[in-house]
């Protein structure tokens, strides 16, 4: 356990469960949310060290959740990693404008690349 609390908001069950599994193996305490509404509620209530956020979510989309989280001063510091399959530059650009830290292209990144990306967030933080 590395003590880091991680929230993953992803509606696709296979992906969510896989990422949750490998991240748990890596030592993170993983909480899962399967739609935007649940995700937002969980994000606002819990105290997480990192949030993995899918863009295409039912009920509330990822970018809105991102906005909401960043609005709250106590939550705005939490690094947010975008999970996307689109690779659409516009979406990624907007996410970064809104304050996202990094992004993962699900269809391209192999599981260990995903782990890397997540770990990078913390190593960069400590470096900065």
């Amino acid at each position: 356990m590395n003590g880091k609390k991680l929230l993953i908001v992803e509606d696709e069950q296979d992906i969510r469960e896989l990422y949750a599994e490998i991240l748990r193996d890596e030592g993170y305490e993983v909480t899962e949310a399967w739609d935007g509404e649940v995700g937002l509620k969980t994000a606002l209530s819990g105290r997480f060290d990192i949030i993995l956020l899918d863009v295409m979510l039912p009920k509330v989309d990822g970018l809105r959740i991102l906005k909401e989280i960043k609005k709250k001063p106590e939550l705005s510091k939490i690094p947010i990693v975008l999970l996307t399959n689109l690779g659409a530059d516009a979406v990624i650009k907007e996410a970064f404008t809104l304050g996202a830290e990094a992004y993962v292209i699900k269809s391209e990144y192999t599981p260990d690349q995903v782990i890397n990306e997540v770990n990078k967030v913390f190593t960069q933080e400590t470096a900065a």
Binding site: D14, I15, L86, G87, A88, K93, K106, S107, P111
Partner: protein, 725 residues
């Protein structure tokens, strides 16, 4: 007798002079000729008078006057001949003044004893004796008369056609007259002292007048041919009437046995009769003109009608206006009660109807109209001229007295019809003829107006069609836009939907292959690896298709920045190194000092990955080198700096045939040594690379020779490197 002749000749001269002057007062030829004629007329009298003068003194006076006028005669002759046929003077003022003074001098001298000192009567004839100034007078004659003839001859020689003919007669007439006069007056009187021949002078004048008159009639001299013709006619008429009267009277007297009337009475009776005969016609016309308005007959002036119609035909091109104008004019001039213009279509059915005066419900039935058209086509119809027939009854039914067909270029376009005249009279032959003459013009004007109408209609129709077509195009365009958006949305959603399960497949496979679910036996691993690669290809294909779709609909967004190409290339090389090592081929980046470029870094990375990826697929031995160089290209706006990236491989090379097709969508190497199946590739990679490079302002290309490897290159806009510290 001689007196009468003299008066007659003088009268003719003066009348001729008057007519010529009045014909064209502003023309100097006319003015000078009439002046000459006047002086001639006066001279004849003066020439005669010495013969009947009561005393020697008077005789001398008349003689002197004679010479006075003779001097002026020669001068006016000269002036006329000099100016004819021009209308302007053409003299210099100085010359004119000098000659005028000279002639005045001579003529005045003639009145003095200096020219003719004395005249003596011998044997009933006047014999003048020349004075000292006679030579001066002779000089005057020679100068002007001679000079005039010289001019006349010269002009005659140079003249052509009509002018020549005119001059010929004037020349001959003047020549005859003057030579005879000279012979008479000068030679006979002065040299031979004989004045008897002077009585013949009027005859010589008449000779001249005759020649001039002939020139006027035959050759339009002074444009007085009409006047002369009419005058001659008039004179003949008078003469004929006089002869008839005299003959009648003498016959009457000889038959009745009564005493003949004395001459004076006879003459006065002849005179009176002539007056009545000649004034009958003009008097009748005047009275008619006064009574016509009263009796409503209205005199039909063909010229007036023609003039008005000619003015109105070109004045408007609008059908209704034209038809009504025409009808109005005809009806006013010929005093018709009502008229109409009926236009037909090709099937001879009524297509347009313009009427003035006809009642609206007096429309002609189809069948009747056809029969009227049929008859009218053969020629105009005049109600009164037709025999009684059912057809005539038809015309009567509709109140049509005149029917004129209208045709243009042989095709029938309609009718112009008229009711009876206001006065109830029948149409005169003159009226019908004049109207018939006008019909072709009217038909043409109407046809033009119809053509214009058609053009306007066509224009409107055309505009409407264009508007409709444009609207259709707009609608279609909108639909296309919608479809395009749907397609884009579909592609986006579809590719997302496709990728989701593929991500699952790929990720879980990876887990298994990396022994996260337990150790995998070799054979299983083999099978799973093939499946894994297939999945990767699928994902790649979906990405490519999404890219292409976005490129084609222009929905690629580029985020451009300034970056170092060399570093980027190194990055890609590092990423792909594992694969290259697997195949035992090298990947090198030639570090070169080049400017940085301004482009979308991610996209450029994609391009480099694509090119390297291709190389990796086909190279078996050797490796791939990335080279750089700076390029300066001439563009329209001037010189622009580029950086050229070359990906050079030692692969099998590409044939010319394939070269051309490589950058197209799904362009693959059919003739390659290595089959596509084992190496994958969507066929879209190069197409996407090309599109991206071009979007970023660069160019892409390939140089290759079979068996010698290939060089893929692309250019990007360079940014001048600033000195950095």
């Amino acid at each position: 007798m001689a007196l009468l002749l003299t008066i007659f000749a003088s009268f003719l001269c003066i009348i001729t002079g008057l007519f010529v002057y009045l014909k064209n007062p502003k023309n100097w030829s006319n003015t000078l000729f009439s002046l000459f004629a006047f002086v001639l007329g006066l001279w004849i009298i003066a020439d005669f008078l010495p013969l009947i003068s009561v005393s020697d003194q008077w005789a001398l006076f008349w003689l002197r006057l004679n010479m006075f006028l003779a001097a002026w005669l020669c001068y006016t002759f000269f002036l006329f001949v000099y100016v004819f046929p021009r209308s302007k003077m053409g003299f210099s003022m100085r010359y004119l003044a000098e000659s005028f003074i000279f002639v005045s001098l001579v003529s005045l001298l003639s009145l003095t004893p200096l020219v003719f000192s004395n005249a003596s009567v011998s044997g009933g004839a006047i014999v003048p004796s020349p004075g000292p100034a006679m030579p001066l007078f002779a000089l005057n004659v020679v100068l002007f008369l001679g000079g005039g003839f010289v001019q006349l001859v010269r002009k005659y020689r140079r003249a052509v056609h009509l002018e020549r003919a005119q001059l010929r007669f004037v020349l001959v007439g003047a020549l005859l007259m003057f030579s005879l006069i000279l012979a008479n007056n000068f030679l006979a009187v002065v040299l031979l002292k004989n004045t008897e021949l002077i009585v013949l002078s009027p005859l010589y004048i008449l000779v001249f007048v005759f020649f001039v008159a002939y020139a006027m009639v035959r050759h339009r001299f002074m444009d007085l041919h009409l006047v002369v013709a009419r005058t001659v006619t008039f004179a003949l008429l008078t003469l004929t009437l006089a002869i008839i009267y005299v003959a009648g009277m003498s016959a009457f007297f000889s038959l009745s046995g009564e005493a003949a009337l004395p001459l004076s009475q006879l003459l006065s009776q002849i005179f009176l009769t002539l007056i009545i005969a000649l004034t009958f016609q003009p008097l009748r016309r005047t009275i008619e003109r006064m009574t016509d308005p009263i009796f409503f007959k209205g005199h039909f002036e063909a010229q007036h009608l023609l003039k008005d119609i000619s003015k109105t035909l070109p004045s408007t091109i609008i059908m209704k206006e034209l038809a009504e104008n025409i009808l109005r004019i005809i009806m006013a001039q010929v005093r018709i009660r009502s008229g109409a213009v009926v236009l037909t279509d090709r099937k001879k059915k009524i297509r347009d109807y313009f009427s003035l005066g006809f009642l609206k419900d007096n429309r002609i039935s189809g069948r009747d109209f056809s029969s009227i058209c049929l008859e009218a086509e053969r020629g105009r119809l005049v109600f009164e001229d037709l025999d009684e027939s059912p057809f005539k009854e038809t015309l009567r039914k509709y109140g049509l007295s005149l029917v004129f067909p209208l045709s243009v270029k042989g095709s029938f376009i309609g009718l112009l019809v008229a009711s009876e005249k206001e006065s109830g009279d029948i149409y005169s032959t003159e009226e019908v003829s004049v109207l018939e003459i006008l019909m072709p013009e009217i038909a043409l004007a109407i046809s033009n107006a119809l053509s214009y109408e058609e053009i306007v209609k066509f224009n409107i129709t055309l505009k409407e069609e264009i508007r409709k077509a444009t609207h259709k195009l707009k609608v279609a365009n909108e639909k296309l836009k919608v479809l395009d958006k749907i397609k884009d949305d579909f592609v986006s959603v579809a590719s997302h939907e496709l990728r989701t399960p593929m991500t699952s497949i790929k990720s879980y496979m990876w887990m298994v292959l990396n022994n996260r679910a337990g150790q995998v036996p070799d054979k299983m691993k083999n099978y799973l690896e093939r499946a894994y690669r297939a999945t990767e290809r699928l994902i790649s294909l979906v990405n490519d298709m999404l890219n292409v779709s976005r490129i084609e609909s222009g929905r690629i967004e580029l985020t451009s920045e300034t970056f170092d190409l060399v570093a980027l290339s190194q990055e890609v090389v590092d990423e792909l190194k594992p694969k290259a090592d697997e195949k035992k081929i090298y990947l090198k980046v030639e570090k070169t000092e080049i400017d940085r470029v301004f482009a979308d870094r991610n996209r450029v990375k994609e391009v480099i990955i694509n090119l390297l990826g291709n190389g990796l697929k086909f190279v078996i031995e050797g490796g791939i080198t990335i080279k750089f160089r700076a390029l300066s290209l001439k563009m329209r706006a001037g010189k622009k700096e580029f950086v050229e990236v070359s990906v050079v491989d030692t692969g099998p090379g590409i044939s010319d045939e394939d070269l051309r097709r490589l950058f197209e969508k799904f362009g693959r190497l059919e003739n390659s040594y290595v089959s596509v199946a084992t190496n994958g590739g969507t066929g879209l990679g190069l197409y996407i690379s090309k599109s991206l490079v071009e979007l970023m302002g660069g160019k892409i290309g390939l140089e290759s020779k079979l068996g010698e490897g290939s060089r893929f290159w692309f250019t990007l806009p360079a940014v001048e490197s600033k000195v950095e510290n």
